[in-house]
C-alpha cells in the first residue's frame, strides 16, 4: 500500500478465473528468435521434430536469412526406433556445427516435446559436450517444449539454466535480468549510472566473457514479467529480489527505478534530477498516443505474461478500461506489485480455454483486443479491433523513451480503423 494504490483497491486479491482447455499460444521454443539475436556468440540447437523447425520458421514471420544462429536437429524414424544412439547423433551434429561456426562460444541444446517424451537426456549431452569442446565452447541445456513452457517461459528456462554456471561473487552488485533490445538496455544502464547505482550486471550478457556473477550480496531486478524460474534459481544462489512494478510507461519505469534507488540509498534529489527530463518526455509522448485510447475498453487474451503490467499501463496512464486480463500464468512474487496498482474491476484469468474466452470477448465487444496471430484476423473480420500480442515482445517497449511507442502500438489499430473509408460515399 502506498500513494499509488487505486482508490477502489487493486487486483492482487481479486478472484482469478482459472481455465484449462485449448490454448492459443506458442511454445517456449519461440524465445529463440529473440534470444539468438541478443546473445551474439550463442547457437540454439533444438532437438526435435519437423514441427519445431516449422514453428521457428513461421513464428519468425520472415526468414532471417543471414544464416541464423539456431537450427533443429530433426528426429527421424531411425532415432525413435532406437536404431541409432541419440547421444552419438547429437555429438556428431554438434561437432559438425561447431566446425562450421568457430564464432560460437555458447551452445544451448534445447529440448522439445518429442525429445522430452522419448526422454533424451540433454543434460548428460550438454555435460559431455562441454568437456569435449571446453574451453572454447560452453554447452548448456534447457527445455522449450510446449508440454512444459508457454511462449516467453522459453526465455525463462534459458536464463534459469545459465544461473548455476554464473561465477560467484561476494560483491554488492545489481543484476538486471531479462533480455532487452540493446538500445533499451543502454538507456537503462545510463539511468542507473547517473543515479550512481553500480556495478550493474546483466543476464543475459551480450557475450559469454561478460562479467555477470551472482552471490549473497547480489540484489536483482527483473525487466520481464515471465522470469519465475530464473527468479527462484537466483534466490537459490543467495541473491535477493527487488520486487517492483515492471518498467512500462512513465509510472512503471519510475516505480521500478525507485525500488532500486531506495535499495542503493540514492537521494530523492538525485532521483529527481536523473528522471525528471525523461519522465516529462514519456508523459508527453504517452499523452499524444493516449488521445485515441482514453475511455476505450481492452480485453487481453493470455500470451506472454506481459498482460498484467500492460493492463496496468493502459488503465492508469492511457485512460482505458480493462474488461478481462488473461495471463498464461500468474506469479504473485512477480506480478503482485502490478496487480496492486491495477484498479479493481477487470476479470483476471489464468490459463485458457480459447473457445470459452472467445465467447466472452464476443459478448463484451471490447474496443481493443490483445491476442495472438491465430486469432487477430478472425476477430477483425467480426468487427473487433485487435493488437497482435507478439509485437509487444518483438518491439522495444521498456523504459521512458519507449513509453510513447508502447502506447502507440495500442492506438495504431484504432487510428487505422478511423482513417480507413472503404465504403461508398453517401
Amino acid at each position: 500500500m502506498n500513494a499509488l494504490t487505486p482508490s477502489n483497491g487493486g487486483c492482487r486479491t481479486a478472484p482469478v478465473l482459472k481455465e484449462r482447455g485449448q490454448r492459443e499460444v506458442f511454445c517456449g521454443l519461440t524465445g529463440i528468435i529473440w534470444l539468438h539475436r541478443k546473445m551474439q556468440d550463442a547457437f540454439f540447437l533444438v532437438v526435435g521434430s519437423r514441427t519445431c523447425a516449422h514453428l521457428l520458421q513461421s513464428a519468425a514471420g520472415v526468414m532471417i536469412f543471414a544464416e541464423p544462429r539456431f537450427g533443429t536437429a530433426i528426429l527421424e524414424e531411425t532415432d525413435l526406433a532406437g536404431m541409432k544412439d541419440a547421444q552419438t547423433e547429437i555429438d556428431r551434429e554438434v561437432a559438425r556445427l561447431l566446425a562450421r561456426r568457430p564464432d560460437i562460444r555458447q551452445l544451448f541444446l534445447v529440448g522439445s516435446c518429442p525429445s522430452e517424451v522419448i526422454k533424451i537426456d540433454l543434460a548428460k549431452a550438454a555435460e559431455r559436450l562441454s568437456q569435449i569442446h571446453a574451453p572454447h565452447v560452453r554447452v548448456l541445456n534447457y527445455s522449450g517444449s510446449g508440454i512444459e513452457t508457454t511462449f516467453t517461459e522459453g526465455e525463462d528456462a534459458c536464463l534459469a539454466c545459465m544461473v548455476p554456471v554464473l561465477k560467484s561473487t561476494e560483491a554488492r552488485e545489481l543484476l538486471v535480468v531479462g533480455a532487452l533490445p540493446d538500445v533499451v538496455e543502454d538507456q537503462m544502464l545510463s539511468l542507473l549510472a547517473d543515479m550512481g547505482v553500480g556495478p550493474v550486471r546483466l543476464l543475459p550478457a551480450r557475450r559469454i566473457d561478460d562479467t555477470t556473477a551472482v552471490g549473497p550480496n547480489t540484489v536483482f531486478a527483473l525487466v520481464q514479467p515471465f522470469l519465475g524460474e530464473t527468479h527462484s534459481a537466483l534466490e537459490r544462489r543467495g541473491a535477493r529480489h527487488l520486487a517492483a512494478p515492471f518498467p512500462f510507461g512513465d509510472e512503471g519505469t519510475t516505480a521500478w527505478l525507485r525500488v532500486i534507488a531506495t535499495e542503493f540509498g540514492v537521494s530523492e534529489e538525485t532521483f529527481e534530477a536523473v528522471t525528471a527530463a525523461p519522465r516529462a518526455r514519456a508523459r508527453k509522448a504517452i499523452a499524444q498516443a493516449a488521445e485515441v485510447l482514453r475511455g476505450k475498453s481492452v480485453f487481453f487474451f493470455p500470451d506472454s505474461q506481459l498482460e498484467i503490467p500492460l493492463a496496468r499501463f493502459l488503465t492508469r496512464e492511457c485512460g482505458m478500461t480493462a474488461i478481462e486480463v488473461g495471463s498464461p500464468y500468474i506469479h504473485d512474487a512477480l506480478h503482485g506489485p502490478d496487480l496492486d496498482l491495477l484498479p479493481a474491476g477487470p476479470q483476471i484469468s489464468e490459463g485458457q480455454d480459447v473457445d470459452k474466452q472467445l465467447d466472452r470477448a464476443r459478448a463484451a465487444r471490447p474496443d481493443l483486443t490483445i491476442c495472438g496471430l491465430g486469432l487477430a484476423n478472425p476477430l477483425e473480420a467480426e468487427g473487433l479491433s485487435t493488437k497482435w500480442a507478439i509485437e509487444l515482445v518483438f518491439t522495444p517497449v521498456h523504459f521512458y523513451e519507449q513509453a510513447g511507442d508502447l502506447a502507440g502500438l495500442f492506438s495504431r489499430p484504432l487510428r487505422r480503423k478511423a482513417v480507413l473509408h472503404l465504403e461508398a460515399a453517401e
Binding site: Q57, V117, N377, P378
Partner: protein, 507 residues
Amino acid sequence: MKLTVWTYEGPPHVGAMRVATAMKGLHYVLHAPQGDTYADLLFTMIERRNHRPPVSYTTFQARDLGADTATLFKKSCQDAVDRFQPEAIIVGASCTAELIQDDPAGLSETMGLSIPVIPLELPSYSRKENFGADETFYQIVKALAKPQERTARVTCNILGPTALGFRARDDVEELTGLLSDLGVQVNVVAPLGATPSDIARLPAAHFNVLLSPETGEAAARWLEKNHQQPFTKIVPIGVGATRDFIAEIGDIIGKPVLIDESRLRMPWWSRSVDSTYLTGKRVFIFGDGTHVAAHARIARDEMGFEVVGIGCYNREMARPVRALAKSYGLEALITDDYLEVEAAIEALSPEMILGTQMERHIGKRLGIPCAVISAPVHVQDFPARYSPQVGFEGANVIFDTLIHPLVMGLEEHLLTMFRDDFEFHDDAGPSHHGGKAKAKVEAVVEEAPAPQDDNIIWLADAEKELKKIPFFVRGKARRNTETYATQKGLHQISLDTLYEAKAHYAR
C-alpha cells in the same frame, strides 16, 4: 537426426490442416501439445483468412502425460462436435502425440458419435506436409464418396486445391471458366470450398481434373479405380500445357473441342521484339514437382530461356522430375536442404531463378533475380488481384512474373553501353525496382588477382575487363571463359582469352 535451418515443407499434420481449412463443415481434432497451435497463423496471417482453421487441439501438458491424455482427447472431440456441429470430423495426432500412442482412431470410434469420424495415420517422423494433405484428402474421399448415377450433362470435379496452395483460389476460378468454355460443368471442387456432402457427390462427375497432383493424386487414383472416373494428367500451366490439356479433355469426353484464344496474349508478348533480350537467359528452376515441370517447359519453349538447372524438394515427385531433367540434358537436384540448393545455384551462377520464397532469399544473397513460382508461400504470394497460374490468363500472368525481376530490354543495352556511368551502373539494379540505387563506389584494383580455380589464374587486365561486364551477365562470362580456358588447357586467362571465349560462345 538431420540438422535443418529452414524447411520447404511442414509436418504432415499441417498438410491435414490445409485440407481441413480448405473445406467447410469439417472439423479436425488434433491430439497435440500446447504450441502446435502456431499452425493457425499460417492460415490467418499468411493467407489472411478471416476464420480460424477448424482445428481443435487437445493441448496436453507434461503433467497430463502421467495421467490420462486419452480422456483429454475424448473430451476435446466431444466439445468440438457439440460446439461446431460439423458434418464429419477427421482425427489424428501431431508428432508428439504420435509418440504417446493414445490411438485417436480407436478412441473416437468408441465414442458413438453420430457423424462420420475419419481417422488419419500420418507418420510425422518420415513424411511431410504434401503427403499429409494428399493422404488426408484421400481418406476423406474414401470414407465419404457414395456410388451414384453420373450427371446428365458432362461434368468434372476439380481435385487438389487446398488452403495455403500456390494461387489455388484463382486457379480454380480460371479453370472453371476454361472448362465452361469447353462445355464441361464443374460438379465439385475439392477440398477447397467443399463440404463433406459435396465429397459424397464426387462420383456423379464424368471425370476428374487433377489440378494439384501434390495434394490430390491419391484421391484421383482411388476415384478412377473405384468409381471409374478418368483423371487428367496434364496440369494446364503455360501456353503449350494449356493447349495440350484442352486436347486431353477432348479425348476424355470423346469429341473435338474448340476454344477462343483471344484472351491469350502471352505468345505475342514473347514473340514481340522487346522480348529478344530474354533469349538464352540462363535460368535455374526449383520448387514443387508440378510447378517445376510446368516452368521448365515455359522457360525453354515459351520464353526462350536456357534451363541450366532443375530440381524439386518433394521426394514424391523425384522420379518425373529426374526424367524431365534428363530430357533437358541435366541432372535433377532432389533435396529439401536449402543449403544444397544454394550451393547448386552458386555453382551454376544463373541469370535468373524460378523458385520458392527460399530461393528468393538465396537470390537476394547472391544478387540473382528470382521469380516465385511455387510453394512454400509467404504473405506476398497471396495477392489481392486476380493472379492465376493455369489457363490462358495464367500464361499471361506468368509472362509478367518472369520478366518483372529482370533488367529490361533497352535498359540492358544502355547499361552495357554506359557501364561506367556514375549513376547508371551495375550496382544500381533494374530501374523499375526502387530503393536499390546507390552511388558507385570506385573499386580498388587488386594488385594480385586471386586464383579462381585450382589451375586457372585470371591476369589483372582480364580481371579488370571482366568487372566492366554488366552484373547480370558477368557470372556467365566468368564461367564461359574458365570453361573455354580449361578446354584449351590454359592456366592463365588474359584479355585475349576473355575475348576469344566471347567469340567462341557467341550466338
